[in-house]
Symmetry: C2
Subunit: 348 residues, 2 copies
Amino acid sequence: RTAFNLNDHPHKRYNPLTAEWVLVSPHRTKRPWQGKTEAPALLERPSYDASCYLCPGNTRADGSTNPQYTGPYAFTNDYSALLNDTPPGSYNENNLLVAESQGGICRVLCFSPRHDLTLPELSLEEIEKVVALWISEFNTLAAKKDIRYIQIFENKGEIMGCSNPHPHGQIWSLNDIPAEPAKETLQQEKYFGSHGRSLLADYVQLELAKAERIVCSNKHFVALVPFWAVWPFETMIVSKRHVQHMNAFNEEEQKALADILKRLTTRYDNLFKTSFPYSAGIHQAPVNDGPHPGWHWHMHFYPPLLRSATVKKFMVGYEMLASPQRDITPEWAAAQLRNQAEVHFKTV
Amino acid sequence: RTAFNLNDHPHKRYNPLTAEWVLVSPHRTKRPWQGKTEAPALLERPSYDASCYLCPGNTRADGSTNPQYTGPYAFTNDYSALLNDTPPGSYNENNLLVAESQGGICRVLCFSPRHDLTLPELSLEEIEKVVALWISEFNTLAAKKDIRYIQIFENKGEIMGCSNPHPHGQIWSLNDIPAEPAKETLQQEKYFGSHGRSLLADYVQLELAKAERIVCSNKHFVALVPFWAVWPFETMIVSKRHVQHMNAFNEEEQKALADILKRLTTRYDNLFKTSFPYSAGIHQAPVNDGPHPGWHWHMHFYPPLLRSATVKKFMVGYEMLASPQRDITPEWAAAQLRNQAEVHFKTV
Ligand SMILES: O=P(O)(O)O[C@H]1O[C@H](CO)[C@@H](O)[C@H](O)[C@H]1O
Ligand SMILES: O=P(O)(O)O[C@H]1O[C@H](CO)[C@@H](O)[C@H](O)[C@H]1O
């Protein structure tokens, strides 16, 4: 019987950002797969689609018309999950039936007028404009005194519930701090309180020294597979500088963010020679909520594919009822991504 | 501007079993769906499939042969996520890279020798035998002193990652208490400590009085859509008697559990005239872990379908990065399930 080691033995890993654990079963990908396979993403789309709600000049679902936009373009979601005229109020019976009103603003952000291009296929300059629009949207929403959290995210690909293939992301902002950023707030402020440094700054330093979970990096950002990754090829982009919000990034950092976004998403596409699906999103400190000195800006990528362009990881029975579980090790996943080229497979 | 109400306004609801919240956007199903549609489940399958790893007499993936079983049949998973010979051990660098060994036993439980029948299509007597086997498996696992939690569950349907259509469930048991039951332990013991009654007993009494979220019930069990349901047609079966583990159910209660399982799953299939996919699982107190007087046996059903047999709810961007979100109200979902017949659509 060999000594316990992370490459061979089932174990759980701790996520210091959320105080949650993931079960890792390194040996488990050997099992045969007779289950569901996904249709791979369509690789060729027209650059303009007359039936798309998001293409420039087209009529949207609510009857309004998109301008002939030429760069990234943001507007309020016609089917917002949060509305800014929600009356405040709450409901409580015996502390067993408990509800509270939620107000907010949901925005849609088209990355490009082109219907056929995804983030890795845009030029660096075009991605810089997306970063700039994220920042200006963030500033506009943060200026509203009742907004406390601004969630910028992208659902990419049909299998991530993306209801329109036109490259776009969303921003949901609200008068409350939702569960995930609330957990990260608690953990980061605790760490900062006892160490005087940010949790992620210390973590990134440790990972850069070890190198085995790093995917790529530049002067201002690191992309890595976290030690506690749940999704097979989950990654995180972390800024080297400890900032609370992305509006603190200077011009050079904004360019560096565009650079790492392009390089990471290109590696993703190259891994299975497909338009790699994921949900990705930016975590940053709450707004209009007092100081959060421990918060350190970062971006999560949660991609579902496991074995190929058509076999994904299902977070189902055990995962829903007990604990998240993964089959391949984060170290192995990082090596796969590190081995990819940074030239998009469609252009070679 | 009308006063805040749960039918029209976005709000969050509190889950007292886990202390988590779900964002509810009642108005949001109006949005058009241009996204992914699922292939509906195949309704006709052969009663025996020579290529199935689980059919009686067939050879399994690991080379062993299934007996000619005639009722439900359990065996140790050939590709277990947890192994019982895992050496103990742990790993820690700076409290940032933290891991711990996990040992356990994973079992597979075929519901029937028939390849073509799912739970609602089995006879009451056959479902009673499934319940009896769950209890005997539970007893065998609980007798092992290093097992602390026993998770009985079923992934039903391809879209729930079920890798084999032969009707079966799984049992993952381990030397640890995973996240979900740990949350429910905390909340139930807290409630029991301050009220001297179980949280779920009080909750079920309140729901029976209100009736609007009840799906169906019998002398010993209630099936309802919880006030805090996350999945569109999520339900929970709760025992009327406050027991910690299912081995406390007497013969009449075991029969009543089979009855409510058949009726609830039949309603699910009838709702969209399909073999309704879900992950379902039993939550009960940890074992070999001292007394847990607050724990109250229950079973969760997490089905993904939202609008039809082919359009599901995606728990993606906002949900992964911020908070779970639902579009239809739990009250509306309960009414739909309550309106279904209890005769399976395939037999009429
Ligand atoms: O054990 P199976 O059926 O091969 O696998 C299925 O259930 C497991 C337990 O919920 C999940 O971890 C897998 O992702 C899923 O595909
Ligand atoms: O807003 P969309 O693209 O219509 O919808 C998608 O993203 C939302 C936010 O993550 C999810 O709630 C939906 O389930 C998903 O289909």
